[in-house]
């Protein structure tokens, strides 16, 4: 008799724990999941898109990059061909960052219409790349290579 009672008691306790755990996980996921969106999709969300963690994917719009190396402030527009969003990032741009480059920007879209980036990643479909003429570091950074003196 007692064993049966304790068994049900244990089952109930486990049930309560599982529900509590599930609720915690759900709450945690609900507020911390990062959606992957393109500029168009983010713009389509309207007011719902503000101030939520988002990964914004698209291309750097040519001619939109403004880099201030003293203030370490980087501004550019991300476009997917249909929509366009202004991004503001702190810190030096990655070496591969350039016009037309595919990028993924992690951050939040503010009410002021500027996407504040916390993490800027350059997309490259394929890691292998034969260096082009004039793109080898030894040619690009001639003065530096000479300065090594060895």
């Amino acid at each position: 008799m007692t064993t049966k009672k304790t068994k049900w008691g244990a089952l109930a306790a486990v049930g309560v724990l599982v529900i509590a755990f599930g609720w915690l996980i759900y709450g945690g996921l609900d507020s911390n999941v990062v959606y992957f969106l393109t500029p168009k999709e983010l713009l389509a969300k309207g007011a719902d898109g503000y101030d939520k963690p988002v990964r914004l994917g698209g291309q750097v719009k040519p001619g939109s990059v403004v880099w201030d190396d003293k203030a370490l402030s980087l501004r550019f527009s991300v476009t997917d061909g249909t929509g366009e969003i202004l991004v503001h990032a702190k810190g030096a741009p990655p070496q591969m960052f350039k016009d037309g480059q595919g990028v993924v920007v992690e951050g939040r879209y503010g009410k002021d219409g500027v996407f504040t980036s916390t993490n800027l990643m350059v997309k490259h479909s394929n890691e292998y790349k034969a260096p082009k003429q004039g793109e080898r570091p030894a040619e690009m950074y001639k003065s530096l290579m000479k300065s090594a003196g060895t």
Binding site: F36, T38, K40, T82, G100, K123, S125, N126, Y128, K132
Partner: protein
Amino acid sequence: MNWKRASIAAATAAPVIGLFAWGLTRDPNNIPSPLPGRQAPAFALAVFSPGQGRLTRPVGDTVRLADLKGKVVVLNFWASWCLACRDEHAALSQMAATYEGKPVQFLGVLYNDVPDKGMAWISEMGGQSYPSVDDPGARVAIDYGLYGVPETFFLDANGRVAYKNTGPVTPGTVRLKVDSLMAAAQSAASVTPSATPSSAPSGAMAKDTSRPSAKAGSAK
């Protein structure tokens, strides 16, 4: 053995395995494109590689998307420095030759590269049966929301993007997409000669479900 418990336990494994099986058909690195189902961005680009046989377009000729209306268009973005492009080259070149004389236009678009390098690559690969155009400044690539190369867009006879493939294409994919787009164009033409764009294939077709090939990954 308590077979009752054993079978209950075994049943719990099914959804997990099912989820993984489904997951294997997806590419997590694939980025959804807003383009499928929409009108393809227009372009006018100059041919730098003429192609072969009856598919030839003279070098310097301007290819306009608007002029290709009524044809299914296979738009393949590639570059000479792209390793995965080598994998798909033979498939595309052969498929283009197979569809010779049909209302299908294969077109290569050179991405972030120079025509000289592109020509050298084509001759190294043993030729390209269809013409390729140069995209200076990657303007068209940006319009198409390109993330990298290779990416291939399949446009229907009305100039809509029906399908986008990220990574190298296989002959099977090309055949499936082109055949269904041609069939849709024909049936639309036979039922209502003044076909409305709404008859363009969409739904299941307008999905982006490609995976990079084994080779593309192993190049790391």
